[in-house]
Amino acid sequence: QTIGFSQIGSESGWRAAETTLTRQEAEKRGIDLKFADAQQKQENQIRAIRSFIAQGVDAILLAPVVATGWDAVLKEAQESDIPVVLLDRQVDSSDDLYLTAVGSDLHHEGVVAGEWLVGEVGDKECNVVELQGTTGSSPAIKRKAGFEEGIAGHDNIKIVRSQTGDFTRAKGKEVMESFLKAENGGKNICALYAHNDDMAVGAIQAIKEAGLKPGSDILVVSIDAVPDIFQAMAAGEANATVELTPNMAGPAFDALAAFMDGGTVPPKFIQTESKLYTQKDDPMKVYEEKKGLGY
């Protein structure tokens, strides 16, 4: 059995882990996985899928870089009777164009992070600074909206500054530095919400270098649950992270197998858990579990 996998790229540790796990899962099941890295470009993904179709693969996994613009190519796959499973992100095409989607709810992740903060600060006044993901990327948009929903109705919590940190550590650190400068050396900031852990890790360094204690002077909540954030949590420098599991391929292969062998049509959305980790969850243990996964 040959399955094509169109991956977005390798822009973050999380994505590298997803690729690694997909490969592992395919190997476990004896699947011949054709991997195509799109270097963050939708046009490359569309190209790859059409090549898969031309090659006559049995199924296609697609981690779409953006929600829109898949109708035509998905239709083409359907006309060639090749089932498509979406991984980790959604598309806004009609749902009969793909078999199923495995993923977490980006919006929901933001909500979980927001609700955690609400529970943590109670009625205290709290100024939040936000490190957004890459401008225009769907995680950035949805995680922002979700977080705002999570803190809605709690007027004591305000987002005072919000800038893009491009999902990277270096930008996270640089932008956090300017936040600290602009907000009275950080004394006005009560919490940091970062759209991914990498930016949080960078920001934590900036906070430390400014002479403040991340985790206590400034609360840190972020999303993804990559290994490094657990180290930070173990050191008391980060407070919470919402997990986005990189193992989307396992459920996807299972659903595909069930469909192809027995014709079982899976549900249209297989949601993975958006688990919240805090310092109470024995971060070092989670770190040890995760660190071999190619993050």
Binding site: R169, K171, K173, A182, G294, Y295
Partner: protein
């Protein structure tokens, strides 16, 4: 004396531009110019700008020389990623700091050698030759880190990114010394003149006995070395090598710095100091946008407009009209 005057006149537009940009930032963000001395170093936004500007400033040094020969080096961002990755993996593999630095800098030199050979010996056009390493280099960096962010804990290496030296952040000291060193090297020897000659007319220079090939290779190697230093600083700063994002699009900022520094992309006469001021102007704009607190979707438009205004004001056509010139003459 004469030389000093000429130098001041050369960099006057850049200094004036920098002053205007800084004043603008000071306007939207009052506490901007506050400097304080604590924990054995200077603190304050201007210092932050010098610090954050370190990678682009370093790249601009090499880029200025490459551009002076009429070339361009698009690969510097990727070389940064490679060298950062090598530094991080060497230090986590247990090599000492000196060995690590040697390996990373050596990798930068090797990348420069590669570019230089493609340009000078094989005869591929610089933009294409370096495009190849730009594409492949990031892959090589990821090969080293295997796609992960390679974190390390070595304080010695981290010192290069976030330590203090002589009352300044280490990166500032590094780029200032590198800038001074290269400036001395090209101006105290004949290198500067020979580089310019090759940039203006390679054939005529060769017929006059200039070893254009060697010179070109050297210049790309210097660029590689500068990129390696920038890569090490960036990795040391975040205590990890991010092969995918380290130095991403920085080649454009570096080229921009050189041009804002008033250097011609066609090659020939150049001023390193002006390029360095150009780099600081760019970083000031970036920092200004960050502290101003606009929504991020406006970042690019603002940057584009500011850059355009700077370039238009500095353009030779306007310059001829003497607008900036009269202003510049009053300023020092």
């Amino acid at each position: 004396m004469n030389g000093t005057m000429r130098f001041l006149r050369r960099v006057a537009p850049q200094i004036a531009t920098l002053a205007v940009v800084l004043l603008l930032i000071g306007f939207v963000f009052p506490g901007f110019f506050d400097l304080s001395f604590a924990n054995g170093r200077l603190y304050g936004s201007p210092i932050d700008i010098l610090n954050r500007g370190a990678p682009v400033a370093l790249l601009a040094i090499g880029m200025t020389l490459v551009i002076a020969t009429g070339g361009i080096d698009l690969s510097v961002g990727a070389v940064m990623a490679i060298c950062g990755a090598i530094a991080a993996s060497a230090i986590t593999a247990g090599y000492g700091l000196p060995a690590t630095l040697l390996m990373a800098l050596g990798a930068g030199l090797a990348c420069g050698l590669w570019n230089g050979v493609l340009v000078a010996v094989v005869g591929i056009q610089p933009i294409v030759a370096t495009l190849i390493l730009m594409v492949a280099g990031r892959g090589i960096a990821q090969l080293v880190t295997e796609g992960t962010i390679l974190t390390f804990t070595n304080d010695g290496l981290a010192f290069l990114g976030s330590g203090n030296l002589l009352g300044l952040p280490t990166p500032v000291v590094i780029w200032l010394s590198m800038g001074a060193l290269v400036t001395l090297l090209v101006r105290r020897t004949a290198l500067g003149m020979l580089i310019e000659a090759v940039g203006v007319n390679r054939r005529a220079s060769m017929l006059a006995g200039v070893n254009a090939r060697l010179l070109l290779v050297t210049v790309y190697m210097v660029s590689g070395l500068c990129a390696a230093m920038a890569g090490i600083i960036v990795a040391a700063d975040i205590r990890g090598a991010d092969a995918n994002n380290a130095g991403l699009f920085l080649e454009l900022d570096a080229i921009l710095a050189v041009v804002i520094g008033g250097n011609s992309l066609l090659g020939g006469g150049f001023s390193l100091v002006a390029s360095l001021i150009g780099a600081i102007i760019i970083q000031s704009v970036n920092t200004g946008i960050l502290v101003a607190g606009f929504p991020p979707e406006f970042n690019l438009v603002i940057k584009a407009v500011i850059v355009l205004v700077i370039l238009v004001v500095q353009s030779p056509a306007i310059h001829g009209a003497g607008v900036l010139f009269s202003f510049a003459r009053r300023s020092p």
